[in-house]
Symmetry: C2
Subunit: 300 residues, 2 copies
DNA sequence: GAAAATGATTTTAATTATTAAATACAAATT
DNA sequence: AATTTGTATTTAATAATTAAAATCATTTTC
């Protein structure tokens, strides 16, 4: 067999819905109209109509499509569940690498991984060749893929790259006019940090989310597809590391909150040198945490 | 048929070479040894030996592989020419977009493009999904690809990104010790600029190469896979634009040479503010040139 | 009898063939 | 004349197929 008929099945079921909302004896609209309403090509509409006709639910003569009988549950076609999206796949793949400490140099088995992640092999391959741009995987000459890996080196380079991007974002930020909405947002986030600091003992798990929100907000002032794309990867990796490295979580988060607050204050005060200092300070520590967690992970 | 037997054919020819360098009546080495020497799996070695046996070039009994006759040209298998590499494909694809001004929003026909570029459809798809990370193409929900395009917006964002990266490189550069090899290289490049300036009338076409060399040198101080990857794309696109936009080439190049010299001098003088100014100045003009060339291209 | 080499089998992945779906075009009906 | 339907063509997703690699078991040789 070739491609799946998922598209046909879901279209057919939609058509049953349309029939259910009609009087027996009524006329179905024209093929083009149905195609447009169902967001599908006329070819599919026609095959679905053929099936309706064959099931004696409609009488189809030329352009007359008369409803003979209201369809019921028995007529519905079962659907295979929808595939995970690209982002879903990305998450699962990184989760797999980080969670099981897949070592650098591991050769990736497309067939097995595609089964494991429940995606067609061919779409996994497309995904990997996307990742290869970021140097996380490599294509071997002989064929096949290897995980060039989540090494300490990778982490250092990723962190350094992050520093370049976020420093740039902060410099942009400082040049924005006073009435820009970013200032209000930053003040809100500042308050959220203070709230969390107050209840840290009970809520220190919430920091991961707040951290992501903070960095996303800072970076949102840079409207640039390359920066945005790179930051997606960065935040994904840092986020997952936060999730699995639970040692000293409360202390680490307490320190990070203070660093964020210094950062926000310096920016709000339009203090250029102070801001850059705060960025450096926070990201340097963040990098060290990432590296330390990598090492411990490997040992454990 | 399934996959090609290119690998087998080239291995077989290599094996013929090995036989040619042997005495008739001599023994071929063990399969594992051959496999290692030919950088190929034992499976291929065995099929090649089978063929040698069938052609009566060797007598193969168990682990005795006796050379019966020296092979000659007639025995060689013809090979299909090797496919374009990934980089080759990248170049051709960008060339196609820029050269024919393929407009943004064009839907890409995989089958046709793969014929045009002479690569298997499936490897083109892998390539496109790599490019989609940079937002040059997009995958449609229904399937298929669209060129989200080499628009003015894309050019602006690419230029801005370039500015961030090169500014970062220059800051790194200024922190390097006096005995670092980069200083010698920069002095050499400075001289090349002066030489070219002197003979500009006759040699102004040479600037494109020198430009690439200059920027590559500057960026070489940043050892970071993300930066390196991004710069590949940047230099490719700027390079191609230089190639096709020939208006005022000599004047533009003369101006650019002066900007480069200012840049180099400021850096050599360890003048931080002056260097940043020079970078800004050159890259701003470069961006404007790129934009202007885009607009003119569209009109012409 | 241990090491090395070969033979057979299983697993993996590149490519082609096949089929679903989309698109384009021609004919027919209102 | 404007829709609507019927037919043919094109495109692309997936499964089947086959080359190549990897693994395991057996045999040979020293």
């Amino acid at each position: 067999m070739a491609r799946t008929d998922d598209r046909f099945r879901s279209a057919y079921n939609k058509l049953l819905d349309i029939c259910t909302n009609m009087e027996v004896g009524g006329q179905l609209p024209a093929e083009v109209v149905l195609a447009e309403r169902m967001e599908v090509s006329r070819t599919i509409v026609r095959s679905a109509l053929h099936k309706l006709d064959a099931e004696n639910l409609i009488l189809w003569e030329g352009r007359r499509k008369t409803l003979v009988k209201r369809p019921d549950k028995r007529h519905r076609l079962s659907q295979s569940e929808s595939l995970p999206t690209g982002e879903e796949l990305e998450k699962r793949f990184l989760e797999w690498i980080l969670r099981f400490d897949v070592p650098a140099g591991t050769s990736l088995n497309i067939a097995q991984l595609s089964r494991q992640f429940g995606v067609p092999a061919h779409s996994l391959q497309a995904f990997l060749s996307g990742l290869s741009r970021f140097g996380l995987v490599e294509r071997r000459a002989k064929g096949g893929w290897i995980l060039s890996g989540f090494t300490a080196e990778f982490a250092v380079e990723l962190s350094d790259f992050r520093l370049v991007l976020e420093m740039n974002a902060v410099r942009h930020l400082l040049s924005l006019p006073e009435d820009h909405q970013i200032w209000g947002k930053l003040k809100e986030i500042r308050k959220e940090h203070e709230d969390l600091r107050r209840d840290l003992k009970d809520r220190y798990h919430d920091f991961s989310t707040l951290d992501e929100k903070f960095h996303t907000t800072i970076n949102s002032v840079v409207k640039n597809r390359f920066v945005v794309e790179a930051q997606k990867l960065i935040s994904l990796i840092f986020h997952y590391h936060y999730m699995w490295d639970k040692r000293d979580e409360q202390e680490r988060n307490a320190a990070a909150i203070e660093e964020h607050l210094d950062w926000i204050d310096a920016v709000l005060a339009q203090d250029r040198a102070g801001s850059e200092e705060a960025v450096l300070n926070h990201l340097r520590r963040s990098k060290e945490t990432l590296l330390a967690s990598l090492k411990n992970h490997k040992l454990g």
